[in-house]
Amino acid sequence: MSGATARFSSLGAAVPGIALLVAFGVVPLAVLTVTALGLGATGAGEEPGLTLDNLTQAVTSPRLRQELVASVVVGIGSVLIMLVAGIPLTLAMSRHGGQVGHGRLTSVVFTLPIALPGIVVGFFTILMLGRTGIFGQVVPALGGAAYTLPGIFVAYVYFSFPRVIGPLQAAMSTFDHSLVDTARTLGASRARAFVSVTLPVVLPAVVQVLGTAAAVTIGGYGTIATLAQSERLLPLSVADRLSNGYQVASASGLAVVLALLAAGTLAVSRLLSAWLERRLR
C-alpha cells in the first residue's frame, strides 16, 4: 500500500521532466529526422520526396566531408590538449584542498571563461591572432592565423577550458593522494607514479570529461561563426543552409549528423569510462 503510494508520488515528480524531454527533445528530433528524409518541409530548390541525400551529403560532398573531419579533429583535439594541461593542474588543486597558490582567486580565474560565449572566444582570438592582432604585430607570421585551422584550434582550446577544468576539478577532488605518496616511498619517480598509479585511477573520470566536453565543442557554433573565412566547421553549414535560401531539408540532414556525432561522442566516452571503471574493481 505504502509502496504503491510512493511509486505514485515519484511518478508525479517525474512528469514535468518527462514532458520537457518530449517537448524539447523527442519531438524536434523526430521532426528534424522526418524533414531530413525529405518527408517534411522543403526549402528553395529542394525536391520533396523520400531521399537519403540530405543525410549522406556530409560524407559524399568533399567540402562537407572536410568540415565534418575538421569538426571532429578540432572538437576532440582541443579537449585533449586542455586535458594535458588540466590534469596536473586539477590534481595539484585537489592536493592542496582546492587551492593552488592563492587558492580561491586561482580557482575563479581558472573557471572564468565559463561565462564567455563561443562568439566572444572567437572575438578574443581575432584580437590575438587576427590580421592586426597583438601576436600578429609582434610576429608577422601569426597575423591572420585566427582564420586558419591552427588558429581555430587555439580558439576551441580556449573554448573548452572551463568545460574541461570544471568537471575535472570535481572528479579530481576525491583523488586519494596517499596512493602517489605510497608509490613514491616504494621507489617510483614522480613520472612513474603518475603513469602507473595516478593515470589508471583517474582515467575513467578523464574519459568521461573528454566525451562531454568534446560533444559540446563539436557542436559549438559561435566561435567558428566569427572565425570562418577560409576554414569551416559543420555547425556553420547547418546555419548557412537555413539563412541562405532556407534549405531546410538539407540543413536538417546536417543537423541530424551533427547531433548524432555529439551524442555518439558522449555515448562512446560513457561506455569506455564504465568499462575502465569496472577494471578498477
Binding site: D181, A183, L186, S196, V201, R281
Partner: protein, 355 residues
C-alpha cells in the same frame, strides 16, 4: 658520523605559517619499534611524513643507519610506508600491489616472483593473490599494505594508525597478528597512533607528543610508572596527578581535605618540616565506601558508567576530577568516601622541599 638506528635530531616542520612539529629529537635503536602517540593534531603524522620524505622539514635532520636522509627524495630512502587507509592501488591485484616497489626498483622478474610469493605466504595472502583490493576485508587490506611496504626490505617501516580503519572487535586479534609480523622484521618500525593500548603493547619506545612537541619518551613501563606530567598521566594511564604536601604526620592532599597516613602510601617522611610532592592516582588506586574512615576523603560522584566488569566513575574532589574503576554500584550525584587501595608512590618535588 656513525649513528646506528633511527635518529631524529632537533626536527621542526612547518605547514604554511604554522609550526606543526617543533624541536623533536628521538633515537630508536636498530630492530626496535617506536610508537608516537598523542591526540589528533599533535604533529605525530607530520613526523611520519617527514621520515618518509613526503614533507620537508624546516630544521633538523633525519638519520637512518648513519645516513643523513634529510635531503634525500622519498623514492630513494628505503623507508616503507603503510598509510592509515592502506592506500592500496585499486587497479592492481594483491600480487601487483606487493610487486610494485620491486618493479620500480628494477628487480628482475624471477627475483620479483620469488619475493612476492614469500611475502604472500608470510602474510597468509597466497589464496588471494589475484584479488583486487576492493574484494578484500579490512584486515586483509592491512596485510597487503604491510607486505607491499616490506617487499622493498626497508630500513625503516612506518605505520600510520595501523588499526584505526578496522572494526573495534577485530583490533585485538589484528594487533596480535601485526605484532607477530613486525617481530619477524629486522627493520626499525615507527607506529603512529592515538590509542594508548596500541602504543604500550606494540612499542619498545613510546614517545608522547602534544602541540608539536615531545612531552616524554621512554619504554612503555617507564612511562606507565612515571608519567612526566598531568597530560601524559591522563593520556597514557588515564590517571590524575594530585599535588600533595608531606609533613611529619601524614601526606596531605586537596588543600588539607585529605590526610593520608604514611602506612597507606609509599613515601618517605621529610627529614625535617614539610615537603611538596605529587601522588599519581590511577583508576584502580582508590576504593570507594559509603562511610568515612581513616585516610578517606569525601568525593562527589559526577558520572557513573557501568561497563560490565566494573563501573567507571568520575569523582570530583575539591574541584579536581579523578577517574576510578570500582566493582561497587554508585549513583551519580551522591557523595562517597575514597581511600587508597594499595600503596601508590608519592613522588617528591626535590626542588621544592621547603624547610
Amino acid at each position: 658520523m656513525s649513528e646506528s638506528g633511527l635518529v631524529i635530531d632537533d626536527l621542526s616542520v612547518d605547514y604554511d605559517s604554522t609550526r606543526a612539529v617543533s624541536g623533536l629529537s628521538l633515537h630508536v635503536p636498530d630492530g626496535q619499534t617506536l610508537a608516537i602517540v598523542g591526540p589528533s593534531g599533535c604533529g605525530k603524522s607530520t613526523v611520519l611524513r617527514t621520515i618518509a620524505g613526503l614533507t620537508r622539514p624546516a630544521e633538523g635532520r633525519v638519520v637512518v643507519g648513519g645516513r643523513d636522509l634529510t635531503h634525500v627524495p622519498a623514492s630513494a630512502r628505503d623507508v616503507g610506508l603503510v598509510p592509515q587507509n592502506y592506500a592500496l592501488f585499486p587497479h592492481l591485484s594483491v600480487r601487483g600491489n606487493i610487486e610494485y616497489g620491486l618493479k620500480a626498483r628494477g628487480v628482475d622478474k624471477v627475483a620479483r616472483r620469488e619475493a612476492v610469493d614469500r611475502l604472500l605466504a608470510f602474510t597468509e595472502l597466497t589464496p588471494l593473490a589475484q584479488r583486487r583490493p576492493s574484494q578484500l576485508s579490512g584486515g586483509q587490506r592491512q596485510r597487503v599494505a604491510l607486505a607491499r611496504a616490506m617487499a622493498i626490505e626497508p630500513s625503516v617501516l612506518l605505520l600510520d594508525e595501523p588499526l584505526a580503519a578496522l572494526d573495534p572487535q577485530l583490533r585485538g586479534a589484528m594487533r596480535r597478528q601485526l605484532l607477530d609480523l613486525l617481530g619477524a622484521t629486522t627493520s626499525i618500525n615507527v607506529i603512529v597512533t592515538h590509542d594508548r593500548h596500541e602504543a604500550l603493547s606494540m612499542a619498545d619506545v613510546v614517545a608522547v607528543m602534544r602541540d608539536g612537541r615531545l612531552v616524554q619518551a621512554g619504554s612503555p613501563r617507564e612511562l606507565w610508572q612515571a608519567p612526566a606530567d598531568a597530560f601524559v598521566a591522563d593520556f597514557l594511564c588515564g590517571a590524575t596527578y594530585v599535588d600533595v604536601v608531606l609533613d611529619q604526620d601524614a601526606v596531605h592532599a586537596f588543600d588539607g581535605r585529605w590526610a593520608i597516613p604514611y602506612a597507606a602510601v609509599d613515601a618517605a617522611r621529610p627529614a625535617t618540616g614539610r615537603a611538596r610532592g605529587r601522588l599519581l592516582l590511577r583508576p584502580d588506586s582508590l576504593v570507594l565506601s559509603e562511610h568515612r574512615g581513616t585516610g578517606t576523603v569525601p568525593a562527589l560522584v559526577r558520572h557513573a558508567e557501568f561497563v560490565g566488569e566494573s563501573t567507571l566513575v568520575t569523582l570530583e574532589v575539591a574541584g579536581t576530577a579523578v577517574s576510578v574503576r570500582t566493582d561497587q554500584p554508585v549513583t551519580t550525584g551522591t557523595t562517597v568516601h575514597a581511600g587508597l587501595a594499595g600503596r601508590p608512590v608519592a613522588h617528591p618535588h626535590p626542588e621544592e622541599i621547603a624547610a
